[in-house]
């Protein structure tokens, strides 16, 4: 019998108990809708040039104006939705899976493994995250997937540290002791006893991290280290619009606004979710 925290069937209703979280959920749903149905929603081909005059301003036909190559910015922003959340989710997945694995292994290993592991994790946390990500991009080469990988890897130490601390406190609890006493294998203890109890914390950290991860990946694209032209990724679009922004501010306003709304929505939902799932957070407010 596994000793998990009490089930919470009312999670969704509690999540939607705050106006901010409702707004966030609606925006996330809209972004997901744009991402899935982009080909049907976009009025023009995202990569077709000469759809309109170069840097043409906002008109009834081109709601967000046109970029330097006469591409419809509205269509490009819609397609951009495909990158933002997907990149955020995949980078957080990398940080989460490898960070949690590392954290559990060293905490469960104990003794010297734990001491050395904790030291290495703390040292890796001494890299400012963006510097670490840029270093990894420098090694792997510039590109969208490499940038996502770099953001994911640079998050591993943070997840590892939190998981390690949580595992250490769990491993000292009676039910883990009991499981060990009845002869459960290490794998069984980790999978059946530790992981289910770590899940709420990991979910909270992952959701809180998601907004940052979306922003972080877009930042690398903005710096020219991630998505390359003509990819309609929002950060890359902002980078491309940088040179002629004073003549055509619409080239940067809409991709940036889309990015801001996405990150804000994810953060609003993440904040609410952490309030519900993390009891310590609840005590504080």
């Amino acid at each position: 019998m596994s000793d998990t925290l009490p089930r919470r069937p009312w999670l969704i209703s509690r999540l939607l108990g705050a106006p901010g979280a409702v707004a966030g959920t609606i925006v996330i749903a809209a972004i997901l809708g744009l991402a899935v149905f982009a080909p049907y929603l976009a009025p023009y081909d995202w990569n077709a040039t000469s759809q309109c005059r170069r840097l043409a301003p906002i008109t009834g036909e081109h709601w967000f104006g046109c970029d330097l190559f006469g591409r419809d910015i509205f269509s490009r922003v819609i397609y951009g939705a495909r990158f933002s959340l997907a990149m955020g989710l995949s980078t957080v997945a990398i940080s989460l899976v490898f960070g949690a694995l590392l954290g559990i292994v060293i905490a469960y290993g104990g003794g010297r493994i734990d001491r050395i592991g904790a030291r290495v994790i703390d040292s890796m946390l001494c890299f400012p995250p963006i510097i670490l990500a840029i270093l990894i991009v420098a090694v792997l080469g510039v590109g969208l997937l490499n940038a996502a990988l770099a953001v994911g890897i640079s998050g591993i130490p943070r997840f590892a540290r939190i998981t390690r601390a949580a595992t250490l406190s769990l491993a000292a609890r009676d039910f883990v002791e009991a499981a060990r006493a009845v002869g459960s294998s290490h794998g069984r203890i980790v999978l059946r006893h530790l992981l289910p109890n770590l899940a709420p914390i990991l979910i909270v950290i992952a959701t809180l991290d998601l907004g940052g991860a979306v922003l972080f990946t877009a930042t690398l694209s903005f710096l020219g280290l991630g998505a390359q032209p003509p990819t309609p990724e929002w950060g890359a679009m902002l980078n491309a619009g940088r040179e002629y922004v004073r003549y055509a501010p619409w080239t940067m306003i809409f991709p940036g606004l889309a990015l801001f709304l996405t990150v804000m929505a994810v953060n609003l939902v993440g904040d609410r979710l952490s309030l519900i799932l993390d009891p310590r957070q609840r005590d504080r407010t």
């Binding site: 040292s123 890299f127 963006i130 510097i131 840029i134 903005f222 904040d271």
Partner: protein, 306 residues
């Protein structure tokens, strides 16, 4: 904090730096391609000259020797010459550093003013609409792409209104980058300050001050602020990491000179000695600043011992 404890902290830095530098060394070894060819960046060269270049870079020696000499050089602040400009990496970084420092200080001041104000207001009237508005603003600060807000600031205040120059390194050209960098910091600080104020406002001495008939403003200004600002400030070290990271982006948006811009250009141009130098030095600075803050708190506040 005793001299012994301080010495202990300082010695504790060594393994940390060793691990981070080892990671950087390892990462640089994983870069595909012959470093000498990367250094030449396509210039044709004779085999003899190639061997000479290899000997100069030290890539012909065993990896252990390279590792030890990398550590020794890093400790002395020597990272070789830039592939691109052929100047010593250390002097390139030294030339750019003052600009990044100015930006970091500017961003920190803006972030602190804005973040503390929002946090105090929210913390004094928690759980009402004031709190909701302040915390939504703080979350917006954390969610704003700093490169986007930077471009908007340039467009509005430099291009349209002409209040500040678009480019330059003077004081007036520092205002917009500082705001753009400070907004992100303000978001996080506001949240920390709010929680800290709420905690302090529940203390007995605040209740006593209120009972004495002091106004709310006086209680907050004289009693709560002083105690509530300390916990967020202990995170100064973490703020430094955010500032350095933010500087990379801000310098790019505002086309300002600085370490961040140097790093991004070096990655794009595959100028690996510069990448290595910037990463090693920023990490070392981060570690040392954190230790310095740690020690300073130990001296100021005797309760901090562990």
């Amino acid at each position: 904090m005793s001299a012994r404890a301080i010495l202990g902290r300082l010695i504790g830095v060594i393994p940390t730096l060793l691990i981070t530098w080892t990671f950087v060394f390892g990462a640089m070894r994983l870069v595909p391609g012959d470093p000498v060819l990367l250094m030449l960046q396509g210039t044709p060269i004779s085999d003899a000259a190639m061997d000479a270049a290899r000997a100069k870079l030290g890539t012909d020696r065993p990896i252990v020797v390279q590792y030890v000499s990398f550590l020794a050089n890093a400790a002395r602040g020597d990272f070789g010459d830039s592939f691109r400009s052929r100047q010593p990496v250390t002097s390139l970084i030294a030339a750019e550093f003052p600009f990044t420092l100015q930006l970091a200080v500017g961003g920190f001041i803006i972030g602190l003013l804005l973040g503390a104000t929002l946090g105090v207001i929210a913390g004094v009237w928690p759980n009402g609409w004031v709190d909701a508005v302040c915390m939504t603003l703080a979350l917006a600060g954390l969610s704003l792409p700093s490169f986007w807000i930077g471009m908007i600031l340039i467009q509005v205040f430099a291009t349209q209104l002409g209040w500040v120059p678009v480019l330059g390194t003077g004081f007036d050209a520092l205002i917009l980058p500082s705001i753009s960098l400070g907004l992100f910091l303000a978001g996080g600080l506001a949240r920390l300050t709010r929680n800290s104020i709420i905690e302090v406002m529940g203390q007995d001495y605040i209740r006593t001050a209120r009972a004495k008939g002091l106004t709310m403003l006086r209680v907050v200004a004289k009693h709560a602020m002083r105690n509530a600002v300390i916990p967020p400030l202990t995170l100064l070290g973490i703020q430094f990491a955010l500032l350095i990271g933010g500087a990379v982006v801000t310098e790019t948006v505002f086309a300002r000179p600085g370490i961040g811009r140097l790093l991004v250009l070096a990655v794009l141009e595959k100028d690996f000695p510069v990448v290595q130098g910037v990463v090693v030095l920023t990490t070392a600075a981060y570690v040392l600043i954190n230790v310095a803050i740690d020690i300073a708190y130990g001296i100021i506040d005797p309760r901090v011992q562990s």
